[in-house]
Amino acid sequence: MSSQDIPEETLPSKQGEHEGAVAAAGDPFADPGIPPHEPRIQDIDERAARRSERVVAFLFVLSMLATVGFIAAYVSLPVDKNIFVFPIGHISALNFSLGLTLGVALFCIGAGAVHWARTLMSDVEVADDRHPIEAAPEVKAKVMADFAAGAEESGFGRRKLIRNTMFGALALVPLSGVVLLRDLGPLPGTKLRKTAWSEGKMLINQNTQLPLRPEDIQVGSLTFAMPEGLKEEDEDFQKQIAKAALMIVRLRPENIKDKRELDWSADGIVAFSKICTHVGCPISLYEQQTHHVLCPCHQSTFDLSDGGRVIFGPAGHALPQLRIKVNDKGYLEAMGDFAEPVGPAFWERG
């Protein structure tokens, strides 16, 4: 662009003098005031301004087209069609098209508006005065006087009987709201101490739904079991399985370090609660060489060959063990409920 095409008066040197650009004499660090406005190319060249205008209009038109595209995609694409998009992979065609067209439609409106503001609207900086937030002393005095007058007229300070009974009434009335919360749930009672296990209940394999025999369980395997009689269709299944879930492994009896664990096992088969004693995640990772189980949520690690002792992580106590035996029909069965509450510790646990 050559400068001959630009009208003289729009050139920087011809523009009005800039505001406050007078430095305090002598102080090199003094505030020189708002610097003079630097004109943009669009301020001095109408052709550049027209180019900006076209860019803005183009963006707005693009947005319109994208909205049309959005509606077209909504109407034409089946909801279950998948397409391959590099490098994302196989994704829903509808979600991909709707997201992209909506994104473009919205983004172009924004880009157009911002480009308009940056290139065509005035970018002259102006200063506004601030006003102190604090009220002037006379305003404060007026408010204080008004308040004193109001308080005096109410007799609030003088008539103490009214004041005190009012405070009493206001303090008591929220109690109704608190009382109403009582029926949010039952009292804890002994609910957290009992599970669905009881004497004589067989151990049911969760995968096959069949009672477990000792020979079903190999050394090194991890089996999940639930108590006989509990069905997935039961209304309280979630609540029951949250406490009763069981983890069964088979160890060589000579590898069991804890004496009680050995007593409570059957042919080297030990049954531990699957619910982590930290905050209740189900434990699911078993390392057969070391007999360690790991909770995938917070990495508490328990040694199943040593009474379910905690060997690492944030859990505070050992996994409860379920005492089991082989009944006369050759199935594994519980000899009672867990001796202690399963899952996370709580105040009444003891």
Partner: protein, 541 residues
Amino acid sequence: MSTAADNRRKAPAGERVADWADGRLGIYSLAKANMRKIFPDHWSFMLGEVCLYSFVIIIMTGVYLTLFFHPSMTEVTYHGSYVPLQGMKMSEAFASTMHISFDVRGGLLIRQIHHWAALIFVAAMLVHMMRVFFTGAFRKPREVNWLFGFLLLVLGMFTGFTGYSLPDDLLSGTGVRFMEGAILSIPIIGTYVSMFLFGGEFPGADFVPRFFSIHVLLLPGIMLGLLVAHLILVFYHKHTQFPGPGRTNKNVVGMPLLPVYMAKAGGFFFLVFGLIAALAGLASINPIWAMGPYRPDQVSTGAQPDWYMGFSEGLIRVMPGWEINVAGHTLVLGVLIPLIIFPLVLAAIAVYPFIESWVTGDKREHHLLDRPRNAPTRTAFGVAWLTWYLVLLVGGGNDLWATHFHLSINTITWFVRIAFFVGPVVAFVATRRICLGLQRRDKDKVLHGRESGIIKRLPHGEFVEVHEPLSQEQLHTLTAHEQPKPLELEPEVDENGVARKAGAGQRLRVKLSKGFYGEGTHIPKATAEEYQEITSGHGHH
């Protein structure tokens, strides 16, 4: 021909509508004060806008989702179009989320926009808060607005948590289980709170509808109120600005709301919305179909909460499993201590403005921002806090760090346990030193000018680099900051010879003030005399 005569008698339609509204709402007075209100320009001022816009996006998409979501834990059998889960038993909440994702056209997009916007909302709030913190924008008169913002952050985290728990999928159910375990650790009332929250034993059939009303009504309602209050205060206080030529504590320099700021800020809403929409079209988030419905006896590995809960996850993961059993009761310190530290981490940054104003005893209004380097103690505190937060985030993802970088999970856990205490201290010391280095550099630039990169050979053969003196604008900008003096204890004996003893509070305050502003906490900024001495003696050395 009626036009000319009519126009004189009748105002244009727009003006008549405005007149009507003014007669009832007083809009002209409102517009007089605000239509050409000045907004200063700085890139970091858009961070708060990202928060506002993502909040609006979340509200809009959230309303759409409520049209299809069934907040119920009634068990149903899935018959939707996602084949792998057909015939499975699941809660209605999960089934309806599947319906939104696979059978409602555009439902997945809106769900993903909602979730992405939530992640961005909380992230933007944290970054916006850091901007306000590191530039000292929280100082008087804006302390209350700082607290409003802080509450929005905390409520945003909990709204997010209750939101991602609603689909009742395997991952979110595990998160809720974790919350239940944490509640159980509260002494005396823990089991009662848990029973009341879940309507009985976990998981029960009540938490989804209850979380739903908390998520869509209670928390967003409070947040909307706080947000409006936050914005009213921003308008009332006017925006802060960085020091520079023409910018003082008594003015605000920038461009008017109408048209520039309206176009920029209004346009920015569309930019944010557009980017999130495209993201939701391209990147899947919370694919509940891959996780399946919740069952308390099942879990997936690599379970992670949404990122903003990550630091609490870190606390709970690295805490040693302490339990104290006394007289038939259990104090579950291993869970209780993280539960107590969780709000303390957040509170540490929330109360800082009040500590700083107490230490400085500064009661003036501040509308000019600090460059972070010019407030080294504050900056160091902020970086220490961020370090703390990031260390805990690492702790919260210790399993992912272990698997991605082939590290021992035990080592990472121990690293986090130690870094929890050591990291912030190291960060504090290092940051303060870096700030002082930057102050030295600024002083050098002011006194000796900018390195021009031009090498000059002197007659006797020496090579020197030519330094260009700074403009007065730059000189002013680099020296406009204040350097507060530490408080001094008042003399033990007053002017009448009466002994007076400073209280413990006052002594602490003076001590802190020395730590904040005393020796070694700043490089004295260049003075006009130094500058003149050097520039006038230019030819002599």
